[in-house]
């Protein structure tokens, strides 16, 4: 199996700041689920931002290959259209823009890239209905403006719904469990599990082990001070839950 994502000695920072990522190496294949854990300030969100191409971040050393191509040459929208999806920790509100309308614009942008025909309103609605049941999302949510007035749980569920519609090759879930009560967490996790697919890699970025109780990763990595200091299977996460990050950080 070819590698979907290869991160080689990646150093990156916020423009004008000091390096936050200090030499990340990571290889991800299609079909795999990776969890990246670590304490506050370890660089977890920076990693997701850099992979998604968020403006304001810059790579200072090393490089990333996505589907065999240099990622650095692609803008954030090109990355998205080529199958990189970021579920935001804080999904953004866009008032006046209908959630369905937004999603259709996004889906058609992605479909166009794949050489598929754009969906008209009726076809889109049909596609939506098929995915709705998957995630236990009320239709009402789709009629409202993008994330405006959504509860924390609704926002996260909406992110996963977007992921279901856009069918990315690489999904990065940035602290998707944060701010969720146990029922919402379970619903979101169920959605993600249903989106596990041999053709799709999922990277979960999280603080806590509890998300991994619901979404079982193939690999767990510990990020500390901008480097991966430990990698293993899901037992590593359980170990962390007991012993904390401190001993690993010092080992680095």
């Amino acid at each position: 199996m070819t590698n979907l994502l290869e991160i080689h000695d990646l150093h990156a920072r916020i423009v004008g700041g000091r390096d936050i990522l200090k030499g990340i190496n990571l290889t991800i294949k299609a079909g795999e689920v990776h969890a990246i854990m670590g304490p506050n300030g370890a660089g977890k969100s920076t990693l997701s931002s850099v992979l998604a191409g968020k403006p304001g971040y810059e790579v200072t050393l090393g490089h990333v290959l996505y589907q065999g191509h240099e990622l650095a040459s692609l803008g954030p929208d090109e990355r998205a259209r080529q199958g990189i999806f970021l579920a935001f920790q804080y999904p953004v509100e866009i008032s006046g823009v209908n959630n369905m309308y937004f999603l259709r614009a996004a889906l058609n942008a992605v479909r166009k890239q794949r050489g598929e025909a754009e969906l008209d309103a009726a076809q889109f609605l049909k596609a939506v209905k098929a995915k709705l049941s998957l995630l236990d999302i009320s239709e009402d949510l789709l009629k409202r403006a993008v994330n405006v007035g959504f509860s924390g749980g609704e926002k996260k569920r909406n992110e996963i719904f977007q992921m279901a519609m856009l069918e990315p090759a690489l999904a990065i879930l940035d602290e998707t469990d944060s701010g969720l009560d146990i029922d919402a967490l379970r619903a979101v996790a169920n959605g993600v599990n249903r989106l596990r697919d041999p053709g799709r890699a999922i990277v979960m970025i999280t603080h806590y082990q509890r998300l991994l109780d619901y979404i079982e990763p193939d690999f767990v990595h510990v990020l500390s001070d901008g480097k991966i200091v430990a990698s293993g299977d899901k037992t590593l996460a359980m170990d962390l839950e007991e012993r904390g990050y401190a001993h690993l950080a010092s080992a680095a």
Binding site: A52, P55, V92, I94
Partner: protein, 484 residues
Amino acid sequence: MSATLDTVETILAAGEDNYKYGFVTDIDVDELPPGLNEDTVRFISATKAEPAWLLEWRLKAFRRWQGMTAPDWAKLKIAPIDYQASTYYSAPKAASGPKSLDEIDPELLKTYEKLGIPLGERAALAGIAVDAVFDSVSVATTFKDTLAAQGIIFCSFGDAVREHPELVQKYLGSVVPPGDNFFSALNSAVFSDGSFAYIPPGIRCPMELSTYFRINAAKSGQFERTLLIADKGAYVSYLEGCTAPQRDENQLHAAVVELVAQEDAEIKYSTVQNWYPGDAEGKGGIYNFVTKRGACRGANAKIAWTQVETGSAITWKYPSCILEGENSVGEFYSVAITNHMQQADTGTKMIHIGRNTRSTIISKGISAGRGQNTYRGAVKILPGAENARNYTQCDSLLIGKTCGAHAIPYIDSRNPSARVEHEATASKVSDEQMFYCQQRGLTQEDALSLIVNGFCKEVLKELPMEFAVEAQKLLAVSLEGSVG
């Protein structure tokens, strides 16, 4: 440094040359030399073979104007205008009166074709009756006969003066008196043509009426008048569009629009204003000084103004409603964009005179580049306006950090039973919003356009469908030069 700013600047830079209506039509014209005096006024009136009363009306307005000074209270920086340097009459040759479409210069038809305005067969498909005003005169009015079957009059202003003098004389200047302001006085003296519509009692106009204004000639001003009357229980929806060639000098546009809604009548007046805005450095562009006002004369009358103002170097415009009739309703929905060096000072006046009158004002101002955007509104409740209601919402969206947005609302309530609400917000297109949209696959331009369209949604949904689509595209184009 803000990433949005980078984004916006990139887009701004990409949009330098995006005014697709900036072409000039090469056509023979009858034109007055520049300059303005009583003879100019007499010439215009004589050319149009006007009755004596109208010439007198013009001359009175002209003398009035001579004693007036241009208003300086708006938040606009305008270099002094030399009114003697403008040309006050320019007409395509042999177009001294509306003709059948076959007689129109093919160059003109081509022009309207380019503008996407259907004057010929396609008008029938579009189902919109169009009156096209090219420089100073109306060149074609479509669907006249279909409308006439229902007693609806829709024609050029010149035709109305000839064929329906009693209606013109009765209503002309009854909502906007010639001496109302500097520009209305100037217009009253030198107006050359425009559109006229009269909807008889109880008739619901079966199609959208539309006027398309086009300034073509160099150094010429355009001074058209629109007079629209909905008699008792009548309904009409009226659309107005405007474009002009791309020229380095500023051109003057000073129009007057008067609406009269009698008892139970309703008028919906929608404008998409896309005059040439000047280049990125502020060179050229139309000076748009327009007086628009509607009177709800009878009980339960309703007038709704919807405007999308994307063009002009300077916009000075306050479509207003005088709510005389009991239970009458005035509405104002506005989107105004200023990009590059554009300046807009626009808003409305709602004057509540009758009992239970209601008004709604929704204003969306978008500023980008070095644009300056001012909302100026007045809500006036007179002592007799028992239980009057007003709701005003005034939102500003800023793109980049070299532009400005201002809100200047005046509220004057002289009846204690009145209820007046005012809400205002100012926001910026955030980096996070842009990134969120792009992360879902939208290009920078599409992302910005989506956000801006969302911001304007409450206004755009008031536009008739075909106009709404055009307006959305226009927003995108204006925002290419300022917004996606």
